[in-house]
């Protein structure tokens, strides 16, 4: 190809710049706010932080019951943030694991074992994606309390996987359907059992697709706000998302933005580490023979 003219390069470069700024600016803005002292929040420049401080983050971890001081006559409560953090970790890790395991099993069943009508199973499971859990609060609540999971984070472990499963099963069954059978047959001929062939050969080579399913689930789980706040009511049982929703905007803006960042940093880091695998997995699962 002939070398591109300078204006094409310039156009391409500025498009890239605009896209990057557009994507990152809101995140940068939230990060800057969380590093501000109250004084700088009121009088400083909104776009930069001159004297960064971690006091907003420290405030989150203050022990419960301690009075953090007053704003006017309003008492500033402290929050069981450490409990929220632990609950969030359990819920996120548990939901992702449960979803990936269940969808690998279902995907293998539909893509490789192919029971009668497997294409219809596959479509039916995917079709359930159109039913949003967020319009089903009342009956979901009945299910949750019938199982004795009222105000318990296990309720989220029950509901979250269902939000990601339809897509993950669709993806994984498509992937297993396209995976050449010879891969397994070679191992079977050499005397490996079906399970042995699956765990030693099929699973390791499917890593990108597993990563794609896991990261997709993490994205879905981390984006929920309504279900966490409706089903978890006692402060000690809440996740970070549900807990931050109870913050008083006017009094605790900075601490809340710090809390937002504290949850976002690990989630974004994990996603970023696996980002390339995510793309490769999406490609592999959607395209014949890839």
């Amino acid at each position: 190809m002939s070398p591109r003219p300078w204006w094409a390069k310039l156009g391409h470069g500025s498009l890239i710049l605009v896209a990057t700024v557009y994507c990152l600016f809101p995140i940068y803005f939230m990060l800057v706010q969380s590093l501000k002292t109250p004084a700088e929040d009121v009088f400083g420049n909104p776009f930069i932080v001159v004297n960064p401080t971690l006091e907003n983050f420290q405030e989150l971890f203050q022990r419960e019951g301690e009075v953090r001081g007053f704003v006017g006559r309003a008492l500033r409560r402290s929050y069981p943030f450490l409990d929220w953090l632990v609950n969030t970790l359990v819920v996120f890790a548990g939901s992702v694991t449960a979803t990936v395991v269940a969808s690998v099993a279902a995907g293998y069943a539909l893509g490789r074992l192919r029971p009668p009508g497997f294409q219809w199973w596959r479509r039916a499971i995917f079709a359930t994606y159109i039913v949003p859990q967020t319009i089903l609060f009342i009956p979901l609540y009945q299910v949750v309390s019938a199982l004795g999971l009222d105000d318990n984070m296990l309720a989220l472990l029950l509901i979250y996987p269902t939000m990601a499963l339809p897509f993950c099963v669709w993806m994984l069954s498509g992937y297993f359907q396209q995976l050449p059978r010879e891969v397994e047959e070679a191992a079977l001929i050499e005397g490996a059992s079906r399970a042995g062939a699956f765990f030693r050969i099929v699973l390791p080579m499917s890593r990108p697709v597993l990563v794609a399913a896991g990261i997709f689930t993490l994205g879905i789980v981390a984006s929920d706000f309504m279900i966490a706040s409706v089903f978890l009511l006692t402060p000690h049982n809440q996740t970070i998302t549900a807990g931050l929703g109870t913050f008083d905007v006017a009094l605790d803006e900075l601490a809340a933005v710090a809390g937002v960042n504290l949850l976002a940093i690990p989630v974004v880091t994990i996603s970023a580490v696996f980002a390339r695998g995510f793309v490769r997995g999406l490609t592999a699962s959607m395209v014949e023979g890839a």
């Binding site: 391409h12 896209a19 990057t20 809101p26 995140i27 939230m30 706010q33 009121v42 009088f43 909104p46 395991v101 269940a102 099993a105 279902a106 069943a109 539909l110 074992l113 192919r114 029971p115 497997f118 479509r123 499971i125 159109i130 039913v131 859990q133 967020t134 319009i135 089903l136 609060f137 009342i138 009956p139 009945q142 299910v143 996987p161 269902t162 499963l165 099963v169 079906r194 990261i215 994205g219 981390a222 929920d224 706000f225 309504m226 970070i240 998302t241 905007v249 803006e253 949850l263 976002a264 989630v267 974004v268 970023a272 995510f278 490769r280 490609t283 959607m286 395209v287 014949e288 890839a290």
Partner: protein
């Protein structure tokens, strides 16, 4: 030999159902039962505020909806919201994907930048967005945002700013995911095809329309599907970004208020279920586009 094979097949089928069991169990408890309950309730006058058992009222709840201007307003807002956000997300996402398709210096970092809005946990980033767009009055940038809010509300009516902020947030996060999804699609196109196309046609637009779009079709269909279903059922973003002060109700928030706050289970169920035919129609149209185009032997 044939008998052994068919015994093996029976075993495979049994194993398949066993492996499907956890998924089906989850879907039954948290999806099939609730949907069944909603359907049944939508034909009754069930309410926790009413003594005695629920009575079957037939289509009354649906009939009342059709005559309720609030419902039509919510439906219109929902459709507008879904269309605006989907078109914008698709356009931006396609732009991102095409931008990233060709190698350039620093591409890995730009890719991460585009990926991050989706990866950033939306359950909390929506809180951050709310406080950025509607800051407490003490904050340094509050006056500027206040001006902007009054300007938008003054031009388009009360609540327009809140609605705009919801749309902006949805587009910001959604375009990131669609960009990544379409990039995965572009990566799947064999480079030889692009080279062939280059010989066939000089027009970049023709190459895009005749080669890239058809090969991306399953990915584009999936992107449209995820975007529309997400927007139609959206409740959390609207709720959070307006702090529960719903000026522009969508079907999701309307149903939530009716069920959880007002305790009118029957009408609320009917309302929530009006979404399903829409979503089903979208699904049926797009289903045929999902499966990758069969590559004929060439």
């Amino acid at each position: 030999m044939a008998a052994a094979r068919s015994a093996g097949r029976t075993r495979d089928i049994r194993l398949a159902y066993l492996l499907l069991a956890p998924t089906l169990l989850l879907l039954l408890t948290t999806l099939a039962y609730p949907i069944g309950w909603e359907i049944w309730t939508s034909f009754t006058d069930l309410s926790p505020l009413k003594d005695g058992s629920a009575e079957f009222v037939g289509l009354t709840n649906y009939g009342r909806l059709l005559g309720d201007p609030e419902f039509w307003r919510a439906a219109l807002v929902t459709v507008v919201y879904a269309i605006i956000t989907s078109v914008a997300k698709l356009a931006l996402g396609l732009g991102f994907a095409l931008l990233l398709a060709r190698p350039f210096r620093g591409r890995a970092l730009v890719f991460l930048a585009i990926f991050i809005p989706w990866a950033y946990p939306a359950g909390v980033s929506v809180i951050g967005w709310y406080w950025t767009l509607s800051p407490p009055t003490t904050t340094a940038y509050a006056p500027a945002m206040g001006h902007l809010k009054h300007l938008v509300d003054g031009t388009f009516g009360t609540g327009a700013w809140a609605f705009t902020s919801i749309i902006l947030f949805n587009i910001w996060r959604g375009s990131s995911f669609i960009g990544v999804l379409l990039l995965a699609g572009i990566n799947a196109i064999p480079p030889e095809l692009f080279e062939c196309a280059l010989l066939e046609s000089k027009s970049r637009w023709r190459r895009f329309r005749l080669v890239t779009v058809p090969l991306l079709r399953p990915f584009l269909a999936l992107a449209v599907f995820l975007s529309l279903t997400g927007a139609f059922a959206d409740l959390a973003n609207v709720w959070m970004l307006t702090a529960g002060r719903i000026v522009f109700p969508v079907i999701g928030t309307h149903a939530y208020v009716l069920a959880v706050k007002a305790g009118q289970y029957g009408p609320a169920s009917a309302l929530a279920l009006t979404l399903v035919p829409f979503l089903l129609a979208i699904l049926l149209v797009l289903f045929r586009l999902f499966d990758p185009p069969r590559r004929e032997a060439t």
